[in-house]
């Protein structure tokens, strides 16, 4: 529950889990019941009933899954929208980071819809560079290059990601977010951390022998701590935050 995304994701997961469990237990129970109830008892000869079809029944079990699928689809569309999935393109247009209008950037899912209630108006821009087998985080404002991602809690982050060599993926399980980091094709990920702490960043796309060791940490801290870290590491002496 460490980003605005996470509670929305968990809500979706719980709904899918309940529906899935009901369906699975129902089907399994039907199979086991049939095997016990309709098993051939000793001495029984002959065949079962020659029932070949039953149109109302078949329409019923076509319609019910279709309705469930439709519900799940609409619901997950709503979740997708709340996570900002449909907003990426419009966000890019009036965002304030350094992407030229000609450059084609593909967006990842990420929460950006939520109104920011902090003092900062614009998202913090971070540039992620992935390579075999490390993540590097560049803060253009302070000319900081860091191996760990530092972000203040409650502040929207816009991360522009590109790979130097093969495809990697930026995954923070606690944020319920993942986006591939692709060579030759920058991607954007928006998110807002909501809980302080240190969470693992994991590469989720097979990238070579040390793929399993390609990890980093996202440090979500209070704004004051973040500012202190930023000032300490910034190469520019006077930085407007």
């Amino acid at each position: 529950m460490a980003s605005t995304n996470a509670p929305i994701y968990d809500e979706l997961f719980n709904v899918l889990f309940v529906i899935g469990t009901i369906l699975f237990i129902g089907m399994t129970a039907l199979v086991i019941y049939s095997l016990i109830q309709f098993r051939r008892k000793p001495g029984e000869e002959g065949d079962g009933l020659p029932i070949e079809d039953n149109l109302p029944l078949e329409i019923f079990w076509t319609a019910v899954p279709a309705v469930v699928i439709l519900f799940v689809g609409l619901y997950s569309y709503d979740i997708y929208d709340r996570m900002g999935g449909m907003q990426i393109l419009s966000n890019d247009m009036h965002s304030h980071h350094s992407i030229s209008s000609q450059e084609k950037v593909w967006g990842g899912i990420g929460s950006s819809k939520q109104e920011s209630n902090t003092s900062r108006d614009f998202p913090i821009n971070v540039e992620l560079t992935a390579m075999q087998f490390a993540f590097l985080f560049n803060y253009p404002k302070g000319e900081i290059i860091s191996g760990e991602l530092h972000v203040p809690v409650g502040q929207p982050i816009t991360m522009r990601m590109e790979s130097k060599d093969v495809i990697h993926a930026f995954w923070v399980p606690e944020f319920r977010l993942k986006q591939d980091v692709i060579p030759g094709q920058p991607t954007i990920l928006n998110f807002t951390p909501t809980r302080t702490g240190r969470y693992p960043i994991i590469c989720a796309e097979l990238c070579g022998p040390y793929h399993g060791g390609m990890r980093s940490t996202v440090v979500v801290e209070e704004p004051e701590e973040y500012d202190a870290w930023f000032k300490k590491n910034s190469k520019q002496t006077e930085v407007e935050l």
Binding site: L35, F38, E58, K178, G212
Partner: protein
């Protein structure tokens, strides 16, 4: 009315072929020999792929990369995936049972193109041996069975090129088989036999073969372009030369998602043959089953990008592929409800064949439910490329297809050999496989949800215990092969005689001797218009021969 296929020249050639056990090592044109060649060859590769899976599970019993070198681990997982898909499941559910059963089901004496059929099989052993030998020469491919560039371009070239050539040969074999099945089902049907009277496996193979013929050439073209990038340093998929890596993913999944249906649709067909026989009931909802298969074929061609939700994919594309993918659950669901309805009210013999088929239903329902969940973009962006996905697809391809392969072996073994398998050992085999499989893969859902990515040799120590449970399940799965192998070998030599039709089945392959003669029937092929007519005409006619008289 006489069956004039294959023509008489073929008859003479067949008489010159070896007849004893040697024929299984020959360029035989007999569809039954070729079917068993596929089955046994596939099973040998299954054992090799299983050993590789065992190596992966041993590595993962500890959170450190300590059992094998890291690049070897990646070679092992690449070989495991490639072997299990291209050398075990695809050839067995299509090639083995398709070749053995389809000519019987359409009332033909052989496949439409017997020589092409033999060529299709004999492409497989060299391709498989080449793939495996690459490990011993200069290291096998290590970019996963998906071979995503630029990783597949930057890893050692020799292994990757051998991998590409092997997959091209296997794809060629698959296309030859697909053309042959379409021609056989549509053109060699016995006069008087209508399409809607065919056993369900014919429909499954027709649908599968359409997918094979439409999508495999796309994979072939893609891999040829990839090999140009590796050997000739072209830039189709190489971003440093202006290529686009996402294009490869689209082309690759355009084949490789339908490949899932190429692995499960024939299994659906086989289950539809097995259940009615042992439940003594007609297959429920024949026509809806046929339409479901065709719906799955059509939808299966337009869902590929759901493998790419975390790649660069625009929002509209994510939505379209979410909807298309989720809706596959509807025709698939119909099939599962129809199978349960087939069980309902039957006289079910609780033998190994029916146990494996019901195991398939339960496992596949779980795999299907996680599949619908994975189709939802917001869910997928968290669990994509994690052990949740590993669990999901093993529930589909092992819990689904492999369970059906075992069920089919128990069902058709008397047809292949004229001997019965031992039922007690069969049930032990089922119990160990079912428990081992679920112990191995069910915990992996949890691993993925909680943060363990796939294809890693090392992981966060908090996952150690659950990984050890999973590895223990894998050990049980490995052990379950032993009673099975014992059963097969023992029964081949000392099994009880089965007679021609031990199950009193009505489908045409049982209306001849077991094992059947060359050309399948002495005399004319029977006309079976009701392959699932159990429970009908019981008062007057009890023997399957009665169908012959109609």
């Amino acid at each position: 009315m006489s069956i004039s296929i294959p023509p008489s020249t073929e008859n003479n050639i067949k008489k010159l072929q070896p007849t004893g056990w040697l024929r299984y090592f020959s360029f035989s044109l007999d569809h039954k020999v070729i079917g068993l060649q596929y089955l046994i060859c596939g099973f040998i590769f299954y054992l090799i792929g299983g050993l590789l899976a065992g190596a992966i599970r041993i590595e993962l019993t500890s959170p450190m990369s300590d059992f094998m070198a890291r690049d070897v681990y990646n070679q092992v997982l690449t070989l495991h995936g490639t072997i299990m898909i291209f050398l075990w499941i695809v050839p067995v559910v299509n090639g083995a049972f398709g070749n053995y059963l389809i000519p019987f089901y359409v009332g033909a004496r052989d496949m439409a193109f017997p020589r092409l059929n033999a060529v299709a099989f004999w492409l497989i052993p060299p391709a498989g041996l080449m793939l495996i030998s690459s490990y011993f020469i200069n290291g096998a491919a290590q970019s996963g069975w998906t071979a995503y560039p630029p990783l597949s371009i930057t890893t050692p070239a020799a292994g990757q090129i051998v991998w590409i050539i092997s997959v091209l040969l296997l794809g060629g074999s698959s296309i030859f088989g697909g053309i042959n099945f379409i021609a056989t089902i549509l053109k060699l049907r016995r006069p008087g036999l209508k399409l809607m009277q065919l056993p369900m496996y014919c429909w499954a193979m027709l649908g599968t073969s359409i997918l094979v013929v439409l999508s495999t050439p796309v994979l072939a073209g893609t891999l040829i372009l990839l090999s140009f990038d590796i050997v000739a340093h072209t830039g189709f998929f190489n971003p440093s030369l202006g290529g686009n890596v996402i294009v490869y993913q689209h082309l690759f999944w355009f084949y490789s998602h339908p490949a899932v249906y190429i692995m499960v649709l024939p299994a659906f067909g086989l289950v539809s043959e097995i259940l009615p026989v042992h439940c003594r009931k007609p297959l429920f909802g024949y026509s809806t089953m046929v339409y479901s298969i065709m719906a799955i074929v059509i939808l299966g061609l337009v869902v590929w990008a759901h493998h790419m939700f975390t790649s660069g994919t625009p929002p509209w594309m994510r939505l379209f592929f979410t909807i298309a993918t989720a809706f596959i659950a509807v025709p698939t669901g119909i099939k599962f409800f129809n199978w349960v309805a087939t069980l309902w009210g039957g006289r079910i013999s609780l033998n190994s064949a029916i146990l494996f088929s019901c195991g398939f239903i339960v496992n596949f329902v779980l795999g299907g439910i996680t599949g619908v969940a994975l189709a939802q973009v917001p869910f997928d962006v968290h669990v994509h490329d994690t052990y949740f996905v590993v669990a999901h697809f093993h529930y589909i391809v092992y819990g689904g297809s492999v369970f059906v392969i075992f069920s089919s072996i128990y069902h058709w073994y008397p047809k292949f050999t004229g001997k019965m398998l031992n039922e007690t050992i069969g049930r032990i085999h089922f119990a160990i496989t079912f428990i081992g499989f679920n112990l191995c893969f069910a915990p992996q859902h949890w691993l993925g949800l909680n943060g363990m990515p796939r294809r890693v040799a090392e992981y966060d120590p908090q996952f150690t215990f659950v990984n050890q449970i999973s590895s223990f399940g894998a050990l049980l799965m490995a052990l379950s092969t032993l009673p099975f192998l014992w059963n097969i070998f023992y029964s081949t030599f000392k099994g009880k005689e089965s007679g021609d039709n031990p199950w009193k089945a009505l489908t045409p392959e049982w209306l001849t001797s077991s094992p059947p003669p060359v050309e399948n029937w002495i005399g004319e092929a029977p006309l079976v218009t009701e392959p699932y007519g159990y429970g009908k005409k019981q008062e007057t006619k009890n023997s399957p021969d009665s169908i012959l008289e109609n």
